[in-house]
C-alpha cells in the first residue's frame, strides 16, 4: 500500500464525512431538543439540492451563492411546516414515535412532489469547478470536496457558536434539557422549537447542496442520505454538535481507510460492521457526557 493512495482516499473520505456531519447536525438538534426524529430531513436536504440545481440551470447562479437564497427560503418553509404539522404532535405521549411516523409521510410527499416538479431523472450539480482539483504535491483536493468541506465546517461552527454563545442558542439547549424551567425564565418554547426546526431544515438544505456537488441525485436519493446522516448522528451522540462533526471525521476515516486497504466489494460491509461494533462498545456515541 502506498502513502498517496491512503492519504488521497483519507482526504476524500474525511471531506465527505464532514458533509454528512453538516446534514446530520440539524437532525441531531431536532431530535435532541424537540424529540422529533425527522425522517424527512434528507428530503429537505434534497430540496435544497434541487433548488440549487434550478438556480444554476436557469440563472447560472453558483450553488454557494444561491445557498444565500435557498437556505433562508427553506427556513421559511420549515417554519410553516413546523406550525402546521410538527406543533400539533408535540403533545403526543411518545413524540419520538409520532414524529417518525409523521415525517415519514412528509418524506414520501416531498419525494413525490420533487418527482413531479423536477422529474425522476437523475441530476448533477455541475458548476464550473465541479470536477477541478487543487493540487498540492502528489495530492489532489477535488473542488467539490473542498467546497463541501469548507461549507460544512463553516455551518457546523456557526451552529456550535450559535448554541454556545448566543442567548437564543442557549435557550435552545435549555429548552431541551428542562423545558419547564426554560419557560419560567422567559423562553418561549414555541418560538424556540420553531427556530430549532427551521434551523435544522436549513442546514439540511446547505448539506444537501454540498452533497449534490459530490454525487448525482434523484427524488429518492434522500433515503440513502438519511441513512448516512443517521449513522453520523448516532456515532456522534444525539444532540451533540461537536460529536457529530467528529463522527463525520471518524466515519470518513473508516471509509477512507477501507477504500484504500480493502477490496471495494467489502468496503460498505466493513464500514457498517465496524459501526455496529463501535456502537456495541460505545453505545452513547463518542462522548459519554451530554453536551453540544
Amino acid at each position: 500500500m502506498d502513502a498517496v493512495l491512503i492519504i488521497q482516499s483519507l482526504i476524500s473520505g474525511i471531506m465527505m464525512g464532514m458533509v454528512y456531519a453538516l446534514l446530520g447536525v440539524g437532525f441531531s438538534l431536532t431530535w435532541g431538543v424537540m424529540h422529533v426524529i425527522n425522517i424527512s430531513h434528507g428530503a429537505f436536504g434534497l430540496l435544497g439540492a434541487y433548488m440549487a440545481y434550478s438556480l444554476l440551470q436557469y440563472f447560472g447562479v453558483d450553488p454557494i451563492v444561491s445557498a444565500a437564497v435557498s437556505v433562508p427560503l427553506l427556513f421559511l418553509v420549515a417554519c410553516g411546516i413546523y406550525q402546521l404539522l410538527i406543533r400539533p404532535i408535540t403533545r403526543a405521549q411518545n413524540v419520538v414515535m409520532a414524529s417518525m411516523i409523521l415525517t415519514f409521510g412528509l418524506a414520501i410527499i416531498l419525494e413525490n412532489v420533487m418527482a413531479i416538479i423536477w422529474k425522476a431523472d437523475p441530476r448533477v450539480l455541475t458548476p464550473t469547478y465541479s470536477s477541478g482539483a487543487l493540487i498540492l504535491g502528489p495530492f489532489y483536493f477535488q473542488y467539490p470536496h473542498v467546497v463541501g468541506f469548507g461549507l460544512s465546517l463553516a455551518g457546523i461552527t456557526a451552529i456550535y457558536l450559535f448554541l454556545k454563545k448566543t442567548y437564543t442558542g442557549m435557550a435552545v439547549r435549555a429548552a431541551w434539557q428542562q423545558p419547564e424551567a426554560a419557560r419560567l425564565y422567559g423562553v418561549n418554547l414555541y418560538w424556540i422549537s420553531m427556530i430549532t426546526f427551521a434551523l435544522a431544515v436549513s442546514t439540511a438544505g446547505a448539506g444537501g447542496i454540498c452533497l449534490a456537488l459530490l454525487n448525482s441525485f434523484e427524488p429518492h436519493s434522500h433515503n440513502l442520505w438519511l441513512i448516512n446522516l443517521f449513522l453520523v448522528v448516532i456515532v456522534g451522540g444525539v444532540g451533540n454538535v461537536i460529536g457529530t462533526a467528529l463522527a463525520g471525521l471518524i466515519i470518513g476515516v473508516i471509509t477512507g481507510l477501507s477504500m484504500a486497504f480493502l477490496p471495494f466489494l467489502w468496503v460498505n460491509l466493513v464500514t457498517f460492521g465496524l459501526l455496529m461494533i463501535f456502537l456495541i462498545f460505545r453505545p452513547h456515541g463518542i462522548f459519554k457526557q451530554e453536551g453540544i
Binding site: M170, R173, A174, Q178, A181
Partner: protein
C-alpha cells in the same frame, strides 16, 4: 402588589384549586403551607402561567395576568424557583445562571448580576465551569436560587427550596432566603418545613385539598391548634 382572587385550576376533571385567594405586598415574605398534594405548586405554577386558570383572576400591580404566557410573566419580574430545582443539567453552572438573565429586560445587566450571585454564593463560584447535573443537592439549590436572582425578581416564589437537603444545607438556604428578604425582596415561600418557614415569614396561608383553609400572621398560625396537629405534628 400581587393579588390572587378566587382562582380555580383544573387538571382534566380534577379541580386542583378551588377559589383560592392570596395577597403579597411589596417587601413582604409570605408563607404558603399545606399537605402533600394540597395544591401549593399548582398555585405557584398558576401565577407563573405554567398552568391555565379556569376561573378567578390574578393581578399584578393592578394589571391582570390573564392570558399571559410564562415568558411574559417572567418579564414582569415574577420569578419562580421550581420544585426539584430543575436546573439545566448539561449546561455549566455559569450558563445556568446566564439563562436566568435570558429575558431581554435584564440581559444587559447579566454580567453584573453574575458577579453579585457569585459573591452571594462563593461555593458555586468555584464550580462555574462544572456541569450543573454533577453538583450535590445543596449546591444545585444554590444555583437554582442564583439563577432566579439573575432574573432580577420583583417577586420571588420558592417552591420547597429545602427538599432533599441535609439539615445543614437546608438551614443555610433558609438563612439566605431571610437575607434576601431583609434586602427588600418580596418572597412567596412554599415549604414543608413548617416550623422553620413560619419562623422567618410574617404572614401565612394554609391550603387544604385545593381550598384555602387558613390565613393569618405567622405568630398566630403557629399557635393555631389545627396547624399544630396537622402540620407541626405536635
Amino acid at each position: 402588589m400581587l393579588s390572587v382572587e378566587n382562582i380555580t385550576v383544573c387538571y382534566g376533571q380534577m379541580k386542583a384549586l378551588r377559589e383560592v385567594s392570596l395577597e403579597v405586598s411589596t417587601g413582604q415574605m409570605v408563607a404558603l403551607i399545606g399537605a402533600n398534594g394540597s395544591g401549593k405548586s399548582t398555585l405557584i405554577n398558576a401565577i407563573s402561567g405554567l398552568v391555565p386558570i379556569a376561573g378567578g383572576e390574578i393581578t399584578w400591580e393592578g394589571q391582570t395576568l390573564k392570558g399571559l404566557t410564562p415568558d411574559n410573566i417572567c418579564r414582569e419580574g415574577i420569578i419562580q424557583v421550581p420544585e426539584g430545582r430543575k436546573l439545566f443539567p448539561a449546561m455549566t453552572v455559569e450558563e445556568n445562571l446566564i439563562m436566568g438573565a435570558y429575558h431581554p429586560n435584564v440581559r444587559k445587566q447579566a454580567q453584573e448580576s453574575l458577579q453579585k450571585v457569585f459573591s452571594t454564593f462563593p461555593r458555586i463560584a468555584d464550580r462555574r465551569r462544572q456541569f450543573a447535573g454533577s453538583l450535590s443537592g445543596g449546591e444545585q439549590q444554590m444555583v437554582a436560587l442564583g439563577r432566579a436572582l439573575m432574573a432580577k425578581p420583583r417577586l420571588l416564589m420558592l417552591d420547597e427550596p429545602s427538599l432533599g437537603l441535609s439539615p445543614k444545607a437546608a438551614a443555610e438556604i433558609f438563612d439566605i432566603i431571610r437575607g434576601l428578604n431583609k434586602e427588600g425582596m418580596t418572597i412567596l415561600l412554599v415549604s414543608q418545613e413548617v416550623m422553620q418557614t413560619l419562623a422567618i415569614t410574617t404572614y401565612g396561608y394554609v391550603l387544604e385539598n385545593g381550598v384555602l383553609a387558613l390565613k393569618d400572621s405567622c405568630d398566630r398560625l403557629l399557635e393555631d391548634p389545627k396547624v399544630k396537629t396537622s402540620y407541626l405534628g405536635l
